[in-house]
């Protein structure tokens, strides 16, 4: 055995290890995406449509309102999410112990309620008189659920729902990442006289940058593609929430009620492009693919 040179690993090994995943990646990820591109260029009768679906999507009068809706939602929800998740994770990690454990469980709980169950839940939560939050609602001068959702109320309620539903899961991810910060580094900072908030800001946050980056990419995509919350709210308040409030709802509408998979695909690819733009930026800025910048 040579002493100075590193042993060269078997070149086939990574391919063997990654093969099962790549099979699924191709079957359920890449091929459907490529097909979606294809379908966006076809008519409903499956003949060549060229750019017709794309033009139809861009000129649909429901597109602009839905983009504005999603934009205002994103502007409210994304910062709320990032601050809430980072803040609560850090506080929980710093506090530690039973309280932290119980809190993490409780934060997760609303996110487990989805679909028809969530519609029922939010219908009751948002109606003064029958909601446990009635005192708060009455304080805000809300007389009915429909009242609450009028004007800008809808975006605010959706932000609240979105935060409550997704924060818990992200806290779990970020907390797990915080757990991997080496104990010695934290100790060293404490010995140097850093208070808990400085430890958090100077030591922990930089260490979990990859997870925060993943959260940013995922959350941006989730936010631009918001679908579940407005649909849920819609089954509870059909007159107050539009069927095509968000861009993703509009795509879903094209696919289901118009039977137009081509337009649905075109619009979905636009959403994908928006998400990819941010993803590429974040990956580049945080060097997410690097394997050299390692600890230990």
């Amino acid at each position: 055995m040579t002493s100075n040179s590193r042993v060269r690993p078997d070149r086939a090994a990574p391919y063997l290890l990654i093969a099962p995943y790549v099979l699924f990646l191709v079957l359920f990820g890449v091929v459907p995406t490529a097909y979606a591109v294809w379908v966006s260029l076809r008519t409903q009768e499956d003949t060549f449509a060229g750019a017709r679906n794309w033009v139809a999507v861009f000129t649909d009068e429901r597109l602009l309102p839905s983009v504005v809706n999603v934009g205002s939602y994103l502007g409210m929800w994304l910062p709320t999410m990032l601050l809430l998740v980072t803040g609560l994770s850090l506080v929980a990690h710093q506090r530690g112990g039973r309280v932290s454990q119980v809190s993490r469980f409780l934060w997760y709980v609303p996110g487990a309620v989805t679909g028809a169950a969530a519609a029922l839940l939010w219908l009751f939560m948002l109606s003064p008189g029958i909601s446990p939050f009635s005192p708060l609602l009455e304080l805000a001068g809300v007389r009915s659920g429909s009242d609450l959702l009028a004007g800008h109320g809808l975006a605010m309620v959706l932000t609240l729902m979105g935060a409550m539903i997704t924060a818990g899961g992200w806290i779990v991810v970020v907390y797990a990442a915080l757990n991997s910060v080496p104990e010695e580094v934290i100790e060293a900072a404490r010995v140097d006289g850093a208070g808990p908030w400085q430890v958090a800001w100077r030591v922990k946050v930089p260490h979990i940058r990859p997870q925060l980056a993943l959260m940013l990419i995922s959350s941006f995509a989730y936010g631009t593609q918001i679908f579940v919350e407005p649909q849920v709210l819609r089954s509870a308040f059909p007159s107050q929430v539009s069927q095509t409030w968000s861009v993703n709802q509009l795509a879903y509408f094209f696919a289901t009620e118009r039977g137009d998979f081509g337009m649905a695909a075109a619009l979905s690819l636009l959403l994908l492009a928006a998400g990819l733009l941010v993803a590429v930026l974040v990956v580049a800025r945080t060097d997410l693919y690097a394997t050299e910048a390692r600890k230990g």
Binding site: V26, V30, W38, E61, S127, R143, S146, P238, T256
Partner: protein
Amino acid sequence: MNRHARRRAAGAVSLAFVAALALTGCGNNSGEKPSAPDPHAKVIVWADATRLPMVEAYQKSHPDANIDLTTIPNEAGYVQTKVQLANRSGQGWPDVVFTGADVAALQAKPYNWAAPLDDYVSKDVVAGFFASSTTNCTIDGLVYCLQNDIAQTVLWYDKGLLDRFGYAVPKTWTDYQQLGAKVAADHPGYVVGALGAQGMMYTYYQASGCPLSEVKSDTEVRINAGAPECTRVNDLLQPMLDNGSVSRLDPFDPAFVKLGTDRKLLMLPFASWAGDFAFKPTFKTPPGQLAAAPMPAWPGETTGYSGAVGGGVWVMGRHAANPQGAADLITWLTTDIELQKAQPTYPAYQPAAKAWAAAKANDTYYAADPTPVFATQAELIRDNWNYTRFASTLTNGYNESVAKGIQDRGKLSDLLPAFAKTLDQAAQDTGYTVVQ
């Protein structure tokens, strides 16, 4: 990325495209089933949970029938999506489906799914339905469905409250408006109507004959928010919205329901099923108080016409292997007297409706027997509202423009034309030309 990796990536991408193209090869579009009808082939039925017992009743009384029943969500677009997927893959169409106004969309491009029943259902049977039902189901001269129930609107009122306050039941819409003004002045907080949901569009606008969904031919539809039949409704209701006697809420919004449970609901023109399924369980009107009156009449008309809030239909598909079996099922479901008279909703088949009314006449919940009013109004549903290919926009569009607009204190005279514009667009998207 080095050149090696880039070539590999390019190779992977092209492979993906080839694989994707392979997918496009499969499935013929709206594939024809060349096989001859097989009287023993199974009939694939999709119904929602409420209709399930009806189909099971058929299976019980026809043990030889080969029925394959699946419960589906009562969700807009469910049937359309599955039919379209079936069209693209060449398999998986249902044979019988319970749906509503979507039948018109399902009959046309791109679905091309609904099948005419004329060869499989006798003309006598078809003639036994109420006129509005036959109109609903007739597309381009052929019968594409049989209606299960109609939801004719009547003027529901709380007799006890009305007597207590000393008011008379309005016979004309002018009386109705005056009553509203009196109620707003003497008893603020009490309501005589609601406008905040698409069901109320049928109640007021369809009952007036406002042309928003008037089919002239398979390619022509009349939508005109400026017609006198529309503007008179705006003029009727705007002052009532402003003085609070007509609620801006959805009748099923918890805040409106509270009005009901607080016994502030004086009157509400609404569907015939509302007595049993809104007033009794949800608004909790006490027994012996609720009564139904005919719809008020417009000046120049002697009778009060109704709208229709819903009403489901059974439809057969073109790809059915056993069309006669499917049609027999549909016929039985809509015309069997024993079955229909036990249904919660008013039957669309006239003999069954008579039996239903007879069974209901002794219902002690009501202050007076509502069934004669149901029977009269069933014949008075405005016939210039038809099932169109843009029916889903009619419902959603009303919610989004008018119902939401009045919450934001918009004026009906602005909201209705805006709504009509959305309908124009939807009509054109589905292959109609719009006339005024």
